[in-house]
C-alpha cells in the first residue's frame, strides 16, 4: 500500500498528463456538466471519424467507375420495399452506393471547410494583428478593406469568381482543381470576420503591462505580436473558428448545389444533394434527404459546440 491515498508525506512525482489537466480544468468541468456539449462532441467525432476512415468503412468506392453499375441506380434504402440488401442507404441516380458516397462526400466537405477556415484564419489573424498593433493609418486602411470585403456577400463573391474561372479554364480543368478553388474563394471571402475579432482583442491586450514589459526587454514588434499578444488572444479565435467551419461547410454545400462546386464524379455533400434534387419528384427522395440530414446534423453540432465554447471561454463568466 505504498501508493495509497493516505500517503501524503511525499509529493506526487509524476506530473499529471496534459489530457488529465484538461479534463480537470474549468473547461473540462463545464463540458462534463453540459449534456448538449457531450452529445454534440460525440456526434461530431462520429461523423468526422466515419468520414475520414471512409476508404476503410465504405462498402464501395464511389470514385472507381468499375464499381459503379448504372443498372443499380435509384434503389431505395433497405427499410423500403424494393431495395437491395447490399445498398443499405440505397443508391443514387448513377448507381453509386449512397452510404459510401455520403462518407466520401462528408470527408470532402469537412476537408474543404477546415482548409478554407485555415486560410481565413491565416489571412484574418495576420491582418488583424498588424492592424491592431501598428494602429494609425495602417489600421484605417486595412479595416476599410475589411469593410469593403464584408459589404459583398460571401456567396456573391464566390459565385462570380467560380463562374468566371469555370468559363475561363473550362469545366475539365475546373473540376480537377475544384477543391482548391473552393478553399481559396471561401477562405478569401471571409477573412474580415477574423481580422475584426483579432484586432479588437489586440487593442485590449496591447494596453496591458506585459506588452510594455516585453518592449522594455528589447523585443521587436514581430515577436511581441506573434509570441506575446497572439497567444493571449486565442479564446475568441477558437470560438469564431467553430462558427466559421460550419459556415464554410454551408458555403461549400451551397456552391456545389448551384453547380459551381465539386463535380458530380467527386461529390461533396452539396453536389450530392444537388444531383438528387432532380429526382426528388420522381420518388427518389433519399438521394437528397439523407445527405441533407447529414449536412444539417454536422453543421448543427459544430454550432452547438461553438455556443458552448463561447460560454466557457467568456472571461466575464469565470474571471470575475
Amino acid at each position: 500500500m505504498s501508493n495509497s491515498t493516505f500517503d501524503t508525506g511525499t509529493p506526487p512525482l509524476a506530473t499529471p498528463s496534459r489530457l488529465s489537466l484538461m479534463w480537470n480544468s474549468n473547461i473540462g468541468y463545464s463540458f462534463r456538466r453540459n449534456p448538449v456539449a457531450i452529445i454534440s462532441m460525440v456526434v461530431f467525432w462520429l461523423i468526422t471519424l466515419a468520414a475520414f476512415f471512409a476508404p476503410v468503412l465504405a462498402p464501395y468506392n464511389p470514385y472507381d467507375p468499375s464499381q459503379i453499375d448504372i443498372l443499380n441506380s435509384e434503389y431505395p434504402p433497405v427499410w423500403i420495399d424494393g431495395s437491395l440488401p447490399e445498398f443499405s442507404l440505397g443508391t443514387d441516380d448513377q448507381g453509386r452506393d449512397l452510404l459510401s458516397t455520403i462518407l466520401y462526400g462528408t470527408r470532402l466537405s469537412i476537408i474543404i471547410g477546415l482548409c478554407a477556415v485555415a486560410l481565413q484564419a491565416f489571412l484574418g489573424i495576420s491582418i488583424g494583428l498588424i492592424s491592431g498593433y501598428v494602429g494609425g493609418r495602417t489600421d484605417s486602411l486595412l479595416m476599410r478593406l475589411a469593410d469593403i470585403q464584408l459589404s459583398f456577400s460571401t456567396l456573391m463573391v464566390a459565385i462570380i469568381f467560380l463562374a468566371i474561372t469555370q468559363a475561363l479554364f473550362g469545366s475539365e480543368v475546373f473540376s480537377r482543381y475544384a477543391v482548391l478553388f473552393l478553399v481559396g474563394v471561401i477562405g478569401v471571402a471571409e477573412w474580415p470576420q477574423y481580422a475584426r475579432t483579432v484586432r479588437a482583442t489586440v487593442l485590449a491586450e496591447k494596453k496591458k503591462e506585459y506588452v510594455d514589459a516585453a518592449r522594455v526587454m528589447g523585443f521587436g514588434p514581430m515577436r511581441i505580436m506573434v509570441r506575446h499578444i497572439l497567444p493571449n488572444s486565442l479564446s475568441p479565435i477558437f470560438v469564431i473558428s467553430t462558427v466559421q467551419v460550419a459556415n464554410a461547410i454551408i458555403s461549400e454545400a451551397s456552391l456545389s448545389f448551384l453547380g459551381l462546386g465539386m463535380p458530380p464524379n467527386q461529390p461533396s455533400l452539396g453536389s450530392l444533394i444537388s444531383s438528387g434534387f432532380d429526382y426528388i419528384f420522381s420518388g427518389s427522395w433519399w438521394i437528397t434527404a439523407i445527405p441533407g440530414l447529414v449536412l444539417v446534423v454536422l453543421v448543427l453540432v459544430i454550432n452547438l459546440l461553438g455556443d458552448w465554447m463561447r460560454d466557457v471561454l467568456n472571461p466575464k463568466l469565470y474571471k470575475g
Partner: protein
C-alpha cells in the same frame, strides 16, 4: 564620464489645445552604480521621466527637446534597432504591478530564455542555465521547478523577485524601477527593496527608483530628486533631503508622513492639488499651494541654485540664503 546624463529633457503631450509640456527641461546625472530616487506626487512626471529614458513614450507623448546621454550615446537619436538593442540589454525596467507584468500564457522559464536569446547568441540549454543562476541569486526557492511554472501559480512577492531576476538577466548598467513595491504587501515590500539594493550593490548596477514612498528612498538611494509639475525642484544627497529639506514642497511631503503626526490628530497634508498641464500657473508652479508665497513667486519661475549639497528651485530659499548672513551679522 557619468553613466547617464540628461540635459534639458522636455516631454510634451499632443492634445486638442496644442502640445502641453509634461516635463519642463529637466537635467540630471547618474554615475556608474549610483542609486537615485525620484519622488513626487502623482502626475509630477516621475514615470514619464522613466519612460522617456527608455525611449518608450507612446502617443500622444513625445520627446520635444533635450538629450539623454546613456554611456555617451543619445537615446533620443537612436534608430529603432539600436533602441531595441539597448532595452533589456543595457537598461532594464521594473514595473509597478508584478501581477500583470509577466505574460500569463508563457512559463517563467520560457520568458527568461526568450529574453536571453533575443539579445545573446545562446542555445536553449545555456540560456536556461543562466536563468537558473539568476533565480538563485534572487533567493527563489527550488528555482528548477519555478522555471516550468506559469505566473499565476506564484505569489506577488515571488513574481516581483522573478521580475528583478529578469531585469538582471543580461547584466544591464542601469535599472529603472517604477514604484516596484506599491502593489505588494507591506511585509514583502521591505524584502523586495532589500533585494533590489543588494542586487544593485553586488552587480554595480545604477538604479533609478521612482516612488512616492520617502521611507523607501531613504533606505535605498544615495541621491534624491524631488519633482513637481514636470520640474525638478530639489535635488541632493538623500540624507540632507530627508533631514533638512529646503523647498517648501519637500518640507510638506516630509511633514505629511504619518510618522510626523501624533496619533489621533489629522495628518498634515499639503493643501490643494497639483495643477493640471492645461492650467499651469505663471511663475513658480507651486505658488498656489505654498505658505511662503510672494509676488515674485507669481511672476517668475525660480532657477535651480546650489546650496551646500542640495540644489533648490525656490525664491524664498534663495532670499533666505542671501539675507540670512546679513541678518546674522546685524
Amino acid at each position: 564620464m557619468s553613466l547617464l546624463s540628461v540635459r534639458d529633457l522636455t516631454v510634451k503631450f499632443a492634445s486638442r489645445d496644442g502640445a502641453m509640456a509634461a516635463l519642463n527641461g529637466i537635467s540630471f546625472d547618474l554615475a556608474r552604480g549610483e542609486r537615485l530616487g525620484i519622488v513626487g506626487e502623482s502626475g509630477a512626471g516621475k514615470s514619464i521621466t522613466g519612460f522617456a529614458l527608455m525611449n518608450l513614450l507612446s502617443k500622444p507623448g513625445f520627446i520635444d527637446g533635450g538629450e539623454i546621454l546613456f554611456e555617451g550615446e543619445d537615446v533620443t537619436q537612436m534608430s529603432p534597432k539600436q533602441v531595441r538593442d539597448m532595452r533589456g540589454n543595457r537598461m532594464a525596467m521594473i514595473f509597478q504591478d508584478p501581477m500583470v507584468t509577466l505574460n500569463p500564457v508563457l512559463t517563467i522559464g520560457q520568458q527568461m530564455v526568450e529574453t536571453l536569446r533575443a539579445h545573446r547568441n545562446l542555445s536553449f540549454e545555456e540560456a536556461r542555465q543562466i536563468a537558473l543562476v539568476k533565480l538563485k541569486e534572487v533567493y527563489i526557492p527550488s528555482p528548477d521547478e519555478r522555471l516550468d511554472q506559469y505566473p499565476h501559480e506564484l505569489s506577488g512577492g515571488m513574481r516581483q523577485r522573478i521580475i528583478i531576476a529578469m531585469a538582471l538577466l543580461l547584466d544591464p548598467k542601469l535599472i529603472i524601477a517604477d514604484e516596484p513595491t506599491t502593489a505588494l504587501d507591506v511585509t514583502i515590500q521591505a524584502d523586495i527593496m532589500e533585494l533590489l539594493l543588494e542586487m544593485c550593490q553586488s552587480n554595480q548596477v545604477g538604479l533609478i527608483l521612482i516612488t512616492h514612498d520617502l521611507g523607501v528612498v531613504s533606505q535605498v538611494t544615495e541621491r534624491t530628486m524631488v519633482m513637481y509639475a514636470g520640474r525638478i525642484i530639489e535635488t541632493g544627497a538623500t540624507r540632507s533631503i530627508i533631514n533638512d529639506p529646503q523647498h517648501p514642497y519637500t518640507q510638506g511631503l516630509i511633514n505629511a508622513l504619518p510618522q510626523q503626526t501624533p496619533p489621533g490628530q489629522r495628518l498634515k497634508q499639503i493643501p490643494g492639488a497639483m495643477p493640471t498641464l492645461s492650467a499651469m500657473p505663471t511663475g513658480c508652479p507651486f505658488h498656489t499651494r505654498c505658505a511662503h508665497v510672494t509676488d515674485e513667486c507669481k511672476r517668475t519661475a525660480p532657477e535651480v541654485s546650489q546650496f551646500g549639497d542640495t540644489a533648490v528651485a525656490c525664491h524664498e530659499v534663495h532670499r533666505l540664503q542671501r539675507d540670512l548672513p546679513k541678518e546674522v551679522a546685524q
